[in-house]
């Protein structure tokens, strides 16, 4: 059915690519952020003093973090970043986001101990 070794090799390579692509596609479907078309945009604010408001969405309840993860006093922004990752159940991702959280929190701590605007 396959005419030549070259053809078979080609088909094998493309089939492998297809399998990988399909696997990635499936993963992306599972992981991809919602491309958001449901909610209508907010009404336009007037240009003259119209305080901006952030349209907050309600994230799903995060899974509980291991005890001790939240030792430093993380700010609300940093806590949100942690929460966004925590319910993935991925320890490596949790390590990464805690690295992020600790790094920016360290900036905060450095700032508090220094009178001049410096880190």
């Amino acid at each position: 059915m396959l005419r030549s070794p070259r053809t078979r090799l080609l088909l094998l390579a493309v089939a492998a690519t297809a399998a990988l692509s399909l696997a990635m596609y499936g993963w992306r479907q599972a992981e991809a952020p919602v491309a958001a078309v449901a909610a209508p945009p907010p009404a336009p604010s007037t240009v003259t003093p119209a305080p901006a408001t952030v349209a907050a969405t309600s994230p799903p309840s995060p899974a509980p973090l291991p005890e001790g993860w939240l030792a430093p006093p993380y700010s609300s922004e940093v806590r949100e970043a942690i929460d966004a990752v925590a319910d993935l159940g991925d320890p490596a991702a949790l390590d990464d986001v805690m690295e992020l959280a600790d790094s920016v929190t360290a900036l905060n701590a450095a700032q508090r101990t220094d009178a001049a605007p410096r880190f």
Binding site: L2, T7, L10, L11, V14, A15, T17, A18, A19, S21, L22, Y25, G26, R28, A32, P33, V34, A35, A36, V37, P41, P42, A43, P44, S45, V47, T48, P49, A50, P51, A52, T53, V54, A55, A56, T57, P59, S75, E77, V78, E80, A81, A84, V85, L88, D90, A93, D96, V97, E99, L100, S103, V104, L107, N108, A110, Q111, P117, R118, F119
Partner: protein
């Protein structure tokens, strides 16, 4: 192998894919709407729909392009450059023409986007940075930007600030010079909840951080576009030369130390070949050069490396600025689009030297090629793409491709008019294989949209279609706009100000971009898969 043979084999591949999909209970996606296209493209689209994997279509399309090129006996193929058709024409946007679209954050109509696309603004000039400290606010002049790391739904971006007047916005280890206002800020966007979370300073004390580039190790190369020096306001005897590249991490802050071996010049953008670690660098000069830096250690640029400048073989000091009357450097070397030029590289032996012999003059003395304002650059599949902002026949921009393996340079596109493309600056290769350009005409009269100068995001597809994807509609008119905890009052028409920093996340669902002035960052999403970007 003839085209018929290739297509016959692709039909067999379609069958294999269909069998694979059936065996794994994979359902096809709905057919993707496409404008008129060649039979070959339609054929490929059928194959993609069978398995529901657009990625496969890209693979097969690349395969087709490479086979067609090979059959022509030319590394680039007749009529194709870097996988792109050189027969380029303006078409309506395959996504639909841009329409004024409200910002999900402010409710203001800041951008023109195709129907179905949405965006969230963040990090306006003057917005508080993290941590919340009086006076620590987002610097102005947002420029190059890249997604440097992803943690689950979080995308971490590094953003340049092209500020040049003033003093450092933050002291400390991340600072280079106390007397310079530029630098970088990093941002975190939660793609899952469609929400910006925070932004913090990562580099300060630099000048005119213009373009840059993401490295394979997840850092950002931030280039200073200047040849000047600054001094410490507290101690004027301390002088700081500028014109360097800095390596900025995704997490934490930079060390404020320049990568001197990459050279001192008007740096713009960088693109890294992930196979070799070689960094390709543009120089925003009139004239300017195109460089490459081979690091001693591909993850630690501070260990030094070899800097070289591109030269056209057999044509010393080839003037590739086109017939732009503003161009200098002698008579232009006429290069038709699609004609490959063999190139070599000449070493810049003294990359830190600015006084006796600049990087450019060192390369020029060895026959280096002359470009007009090389700016944005990007890597994909063995090709380095770069633009020359106001090079070419009309002075509205050129797009070049450098084939790393073949060591050939090709002019892909020479903009004929402002309407088609108006001074491209930052650029990227999109997830589905197109090119996306940030227009920057430096404030001169630009493309007119309904009689108003308007900067755009312009796209070029692999089959030679060029179209407007997005418009800058930031216009406060005669009124003012103020933001909470921000002392800046936004006013006036900003539509002629440049786009910058366009970059996609790895899912291909989110495009991030900046409007440099008044300084706003956007996260944009929508039905990307319905078109070629």
């Amino acid at each position: 192998m003839s085209t018929n043979e290739v297509e016959a084999q692709l039909q067999q591949i379609d069958q294999v894919i269909a069998q694979f999909a059936a065996a794994h209970d994979l359902k096809p996606t709905p057919p993707q709407p496409e404008p008129a296209q060649t039979d070959r493209r339609a054929f490929l689209q059928r194959g993609a729909a069978t398995a529901g994997a657009v990625a496969i279509a890209g693979t097969l399309q690349m395969f087709m392009a490479r086979r067609a090129e090979a059959s022509n006996g030319n590394a680039h193929g007749r009529g194709r450059v870097g996988g792109f058709d050189t027969d380029i024409g303006v078409v309506p946007s395959p996504y639909g023409e841009p329409v004024p679209t409200l910002d999900e954050t402010t409710g203001l109509p800041l951008l023109g986007l195709p129907p179905g696309f949405r965006y969230w603004s963040f990090g306006w000039t003057g917005d508080p940075l993290y941590p919340a400290v009086p006076g620590l606010v987002t610097p102005p002049m947002h420029d190059g930007m890249g997604v440097v790391r992803e943690i689950g739904p979080l995308a971490i971006l590094c953003r340049n600030h092209e500020a040049s007047a003033g003093t450092s916005f933050l002291n400390g280890a991340l600072q280079y010079s106390p007397g310079a206002p530029g630098g970088n800020t990093n941002l975190v966007f939660d793609r899952r909840h469609q929400k910006w979370l925070l932004s913090w300073p990562t580099l300060s004390g630099t000048v005119r951080n213009c373009g840059g580039g993401v490295t394979p190790q997840g850092t950002w190369l931030s280039g200073e576009e200047t040849l000047g020096s600054t001094t410490d306001p507290a101690d004027p005897t301390r002088s700081f030369p500028h014109g360097w590249v800095f390596d900025v991490p995704a997490i934490g802050t930079s060390n404020g130390k320049p990568i001197r071996a990459m050279g001192r010049r008007n740096h713009e953008a960088a693109a890294v070949d992930p196979k070799t670690g070689v960094v390709y660098l543009t120089e925003d000069g009139s004239p300017g050069g195109f460089y490459r830096f081979t690091p001693q250690h591909r993850h630690d640029y501070q260990r030094g490396g070899k800097l070289e400048m591109l030269k056209v073989v057999g044509r010393p000091n080839a003037n590739l600025q086109g017939s732009n009357p503003l161009g200098g450097g002698g008579a232009p070397y006429p290069v038709p689009a699609g004609a490959p030029l063999d190139v070599s590289w000449v070493e810049i032996a003294d990359p830190e030297n600015l006084i006796a012999a600049s990087n450019f003059s060192q390369g020029l003395a060895q026959g280096g090629a002359i470009f007009r304002r090389p700016e944005g650059t990007a890597y994909r599949d063995g090709i380095i793409y770069f633009v020359c902002t106001d090079g070419g026949r009309s002075g509205n921009g050129q797009v070049f491709c450098y084939d790393i393996e073949e060591q050939q340079l090709v002019l892909l596109y020479d903009a004929p008019s402002q309407n088609e493309l108006d001074n491209p600056d930052n650029m990227i290769v999109t997830p589905r294989g197109g090119l996306l350009f940030c227009e920057d005409n430096s404030g001169s009269p630009s493309y007119l949209l309904n009689g108003v100068s308007t900067e755009r995001l312009v796209a070029l597809t692999r089959d030679g279609r060029i179209f407007t994807f997005a418009q800058n509609l930031v216009d406060f008119g005669g009124g003012t706009y103020s933001r909470p905890n921000n002392a800046v009052v936004f006013t006036g028409n900003q539509r002629a100000n440049e786009w910058a920093g366009a970059c996609f996340d790895s899912s291909g669902e989110w495009l991030f971009a900046n409007i440099q002035t008044p300084g706003i960052t956007f996260a944009i999403t929508g039905p990307w898969r319905s078109g070629p970007l």
